[in-house]
């Protein structure tokens, strides 16, 4: 494996894992805060147990998210020193704010996890909310930094020099809002479906049904509402990308030739050598509409972009298909859920729907990873869109492949342990939350 590929793979691997840890750590505090609120309002012990059970998940994922995030803040330099040397002062603003948000989150988490029966109960609840809000703020800020790579702003690039730097403008680049919105909804959808699915499984096994059903309701509410909102945000993102990164949009849709009107293709096998796509379903004019809001508009194909600026088309296209496909599936599950809820008031006896939720456990995360592949691979060959190429940013140190193997091993074992821990936590629910007098 050559060093450049190894560096890209290691970055992809680290971000790929961090995204999942961070999303769970960012979303679960909100679930927790809701059940905590219900416990304080209703005095129903089950809600207290749910809060405690979830807070353990939050603690585990916050720790893994924090260490993998620390890792990333160094990896940016370890793998892409040339990029950081120039980009650091420009797009560093969201990172410095994120440092604050992250710090507050860590403090609030300390209060929350160790504050049971030691703090005023509403202050204690509030610290839980702070964990969620600051976690969400961290997420938005980091995505804003990534958005800058897609939509560089806040500097002038003259003769290879970066001048006239304005970090605030860089932070509020054109892409920050659409990307952050899409990411946040994705995080809530993915985590909501995963959590709801696990509790649905326990309901189907008839274990501790009251506990799991109450948990299921909270998680599924977030999951389904966000899954229904996500297509709107996706549409805004598509129009944004069409305008700013036509090469990325063309790769997403494997549009080799400029067309007017352009069809939307579903599925298909990409032949990168011959620049063709086969075996797809075609929706005439739909891509024109998605990209420009007009069924007859022209959509730029890869033929209008210099060949050495083409992103890898196959990966981007397949990832995009997976993301949209799964997103649509989750949207349908959400429709069905609301329909059943409207007709029957409870889904406790609708086994097939619970099974559908169990099936959906990994879907959100697969879609999330696929979406991230679309945005990162679709930006190639650029690390700063249109300004700096990824291959020019890579570290001069040879032997990165070894580092990649080592970190792969670490991330995989870390994830296995996390899954194992969660499995044990869930298995122990009946034991841990049976009696009313429990401590941590």
């Amino acid at each position: 494996m050559d060093d450049f590929l190894a560096a890209r793979s290691q970055m992809a691997l680290s971000l790929g894992f961090h995204i999942i840890y961070a999303c769970i750590g960012m979303v679960m505090p909100f679930f927790m805060a809701i059940s905590h609120y219900k416990w304080l309002k209703t005095n129903n012990e089950v809600y207290k147990h749910i809060t405690k059970a979830w807070s353990k998940g939050v603690a585990i994922f916050f720790a893994t998210g924090a260490v993998s995030g620390t890792m990333l803040s160094f990896e940016l330099g370890l793998l892409w020193p040339k990029f950081m040397e120039h980009a650091g002062p420009i797009f560093g603003m969201p990172f410095s704010l994120e440092g604050t948000a992250f710090f507050i989150e860590a403090i609030a988490l300390g209060f929350f996890l160790y504050g049971w029966d030691k703090l005023n109960k509403w202050f204690h609840w509030f610290t839980g909310v702070v964990v969620g809000v600051s976690g969400l703020a961290s997420g938005i800020l980091v995505v804003a930094a990534n958005a800058w790579m897609n939509s560089p702003a806040g500097f002038d690039y003259v003769d290879g020099q970066y001048t006239n730097i304005d970090p605030i403008k860089a932070m509020f680049n054109d892409a920050w809002f659409t990307q952050a919105l899409h990411m946040c909804l994705a995080a809530f959808t993915a985590t909501g479906f995963a959590v709801a699915g696990v509790h649905a499984l326990m309901i189907l096994r008839k274990q501790h049904t009251d506990f799991h059903y109450k948990s299921f309701k909270i998680a599924s509410a977030f999951a389904t509402v966000c899954a229904l909102l996500q297509p709107i945000s996706g549409d805004i993102s598509a129009k944004d990308v069409a305008q700013r990164q036509p090469a990325k949009l063309a790769a997403m849709e494997a549009l080799y030739k400029t067309e007017k009107p352009a069809p939307l293709i579903i599925g298909g096998i990409v032949d990168e050598k011959n620049k063709t796509v086969s075996n797809y379903i075609e929706l005439p004019g739909a891509l024109s509409f998605l990209a420009h809001g007009d069924f007859k508009a022209e959509v730029k194909g890869l033929d209008q972009i210099p060949e050495d600026e083409h992103p890898p088309v196959a990966i981007t296209h397949y990832a995009f298909q997976i993301m949209v496909g799964l997103g649509t599936l989750m949207m349908f599950i959400s429709f069905i859920y609301f329909f059943i809820l409207w007709r029957k008031k409870t889904i406790l006896n609708t086994k097939w729907l619970l099974k559908l939720f169990v099936f959906a456990i990994p879907l959100g995360y697969i879609a999330l990873e696929a979406g991230w592949v679309v945005t990162e691979v679709g930006r190639q060959p650029w690390i700063i869109n249109g300004i700096m190429r990824t291959k020019d940013a890579v570290t001069p140190m040879p032997g990165i492949a070894w580092s990649f193997y080592l970190f792969s091993a670490i991330y995989f074992s870390l994830s296995l342990i996390v899954i194992f821990l969660l499995y044990r936590q869930i298995k122990m629910v009946p034991v841990l939350y049976k009696s009313s007098n429990i401590d941590n």
Binding site: G69, P89, F111
Partner: protein
């Protein structure tokens, strides 16, 4: 604003050495505790650092963000030439952080704990060692940006006598900080005596490794003597550090634990001041005597301005909240 940003950088590095260091030290102490006392040590330790350990590690993030936003040249020089020790330290941070949380949150207590404990202890040691090695390398003058072979460019910059000596010295200091901190957390006299003993050992180790740092500095041509002895502030800091050590042992015998902590922190601060004051504002010494100064590589003004404001406003939010966290979980001890 330049001064504000630099002050925050120094503060973040200092606090990471003190708080993060004490945290690593807890693992190091556990490593050097006899098997029969380990579970008691662990309990005391968990009690003491559980609520605050996540926050302690945020200082590293703050320091690194300041470096790459305001001093990108320093950040990239370190991450290119000190890639290997940085990667090892990061693996250590990941391993110990997760092992610490996992061993608390594993719902079943069984053989897995054997694994978590092992990982926690060894990675604490490795992390502290490499943190020290990194600090040493920055001062060592062995980093060679013009090297044309792998070993000179990526290995000898950090694998040299001076850096390793600083690494060992740091490890001993971390153990010492943790031992002193934990003395105040003990519930029984027996535990207290154990940590006092640990503090003694760690202190002796620190003195030995400290001497090694000076010897290796002479051997490796690091002008440490000039910084420490021939500079007024450096000299004053060393004298204050030594005096506080004497006072520290006196108070230890008297059992005044609160002042002890302050003194131990003060002592480590003085050590950091001693080695860095004369060197400031130079941050990295390169091979051939060239240096990278903070002022020379600072980012454009607007970046420094906005970073400075972000740090000031951020700390207005963070510090009271953090202070209350430490206060609240101190209070419950009494």
């Amino acid at each position: 604003m330049e001064q504000v940003v630099i002050a925050f950088l120094c503060l973040a590095i200092l606090l990471y050495f003190l708080l993060g260091g004490a945290d690593f030290g807890a693992g190091i102490i556990e490593l050097f505790t006899s098997t029969k006392n380990r579970s008691r040590t662990r309990k005391t330790m968990y009690h003491a650092i559980g609520p605050v350990w996540e926050a302690n590690h945020m200082w590293l993030i703050i320091a690194i963000v300041i470096l790459f936003v305001a001093f990108p040249k320093i950040y990239t020089t370190m991450s290119v030439h000190l890639h290997i020790p940085l990667a090892i330290m990061l693996i250590g941070i990941m391993a110990r952080g997760t092992a610490f949380v996992f061993r608390h949150y594993d719902a079943v207590k069984d053989d897995m704990h054997w694994l978590y404990n092992r990982i926690f202890r060894y990675s604490s040691f490795v992390t502290a060692l490499f943190l020290g090695i990194l600090a040493g390398s920055v001062l060592s003058g062995k980093i060679d940006p013009n090297a044309n072979n792998f070993a000179d460019a990526y290995i000898f910059g950090w694998l040299n006598l001076f850096s390793v000596a600083v690494g060992l010295f740091t490890t001993a200091l971390c153990g010492f900080l943790a031992a002193v901190y934990l003395i105040g957390e003990c519930k029984t006299d027996e535990d207290k005596q154990r940590f006092i003993k640990k503090a003694k050992y760690m202190n002796v180790a620190a003195v030995i490794f400290g001497a090694m740092v000076f010897v290796s500095a002479t051997m490796e041509d690091v002008p440490l003597m000039n910084w420490v002895v021939y500079n007024k502030v450096g000299l004053a800091a060393v004298i204050l550090a030594s005096l506080s050590l004497v006072l520290l042992w006196y108070l230890l015998l008297k059992g005044r634990t609160q002042i002890l902590r302050v003194l131990a922190g003060f002592q480590v601060t003085m050590i950091l001041v001693a080695i860095s004051y004369a060197h400031f504002p130079n941050f990295i010494r390169l091979k051939g005597g060239e240096t990278i100064s903070l002022y020379a590589v600072i980012a454009p003004e607007k970046t420094v301005q906005s970073l400075g404001w972000a740090l000031v406003l951020g700390s207005l939010l963070i510090l009271p909240f953090l202070g209350y966290l430490f206060y609240k979980f101190q209070q419950k001890e009494e």
